[in-house]
Amino acid sequence: MRRRMMLKRGAEVAAALAAAGLWPAGAHAAWAQQAFDAKGFAEALKALGARTPQESKDVTLTGPDIAENGAVVPVACACALPGVKRLVLLVDKNPNTLAAVFDVSDAIEPQFATRVKMAQTSNVYAVALMDDGQALFAQKEIKVTLGGCGG
C-alpha cells in the first residue's frame, strides 16, 4: 500500500517536471502538455520553465512578411551562440501559442525550419533556451491574408 503510494507520488512529481519542461532533454520526455496548452508568449515560456526572455541579435527568426495562407507559414529559427539547450517556436495570437520545441544536441546545428499554422496576423517568436538558464528571443510580425479563389 505504501509502495503504491510512493510510486504514485513519484509519477506525479515526474509528470509535473515534464509538464514544466524541466525533464532532461534526450531522455524520452513526456509531452509538455501544460506548455502546449498555454495562451500567449509569456505564459507558454513560463510553462517551459524559462526565465524572462531577452531580445537578442544572436537569435534569428526567418519567415515571409506576408503569408498567402495561414495554414502553411514557413519559418526558420537559429541561434549563433554556443550553449543552446532548446529552440522554441511560438505564434503569439494562436489559440495555443507554443508551436514546436527542438532539443539541441552537440550533434546538430542550432537551426531548424518548419511550417506552422497561423490563425491570424501575429508576432512569431524564436526563443533560445540556453544551458546557463538564459532565454533569448527574436520576433517578427507575419501578416496573414485571405487569398482569392485558390488558383
Binding site: A29, V72, N94, N96, L98, A100, A107, E109, A113, T114
Partner: protein, 103 residues
Amino acid sequence: MADPMRIRAQAQGDKAVVRVLMSHEMETGQRKDSAGKTIPAWFIQEVTASLNGSPVLTAQWGTAVSKNPFMQFTIRGAKAGDKVSVSWVDNRGDKRTDEATVA
C-alpha cells in the same frame, strides 16, 4: 502503418542538411465536421532523428505545425553514405520510421 516520409539528406562539407516531409493530417481539434461535431485533435507529438543509429534530435510538436509537416535540420560530422533515420509518434500512439542515406 502511416504513409512513408520523404527524407533528403545532402552532404555539405562536414555536415548534412536533412529535409523531411511527413504525411500526417495534423488535425488541430478546433475544426468541426459538416454535422457540427468537433474533429478530434490528431497530430505528431514527438519527432526524433538519428545518425548511424545514434540519436541526434528530439522535438516536441503541437497542433500548430502544418499538415503534411516539413522539417529541416543540419547534422554535424555527417558524410555521404551515412544513414539518417527519422521517427515520429502521434497523440494516438501511431508511429512511423523512415531512413535515408546522405548523398
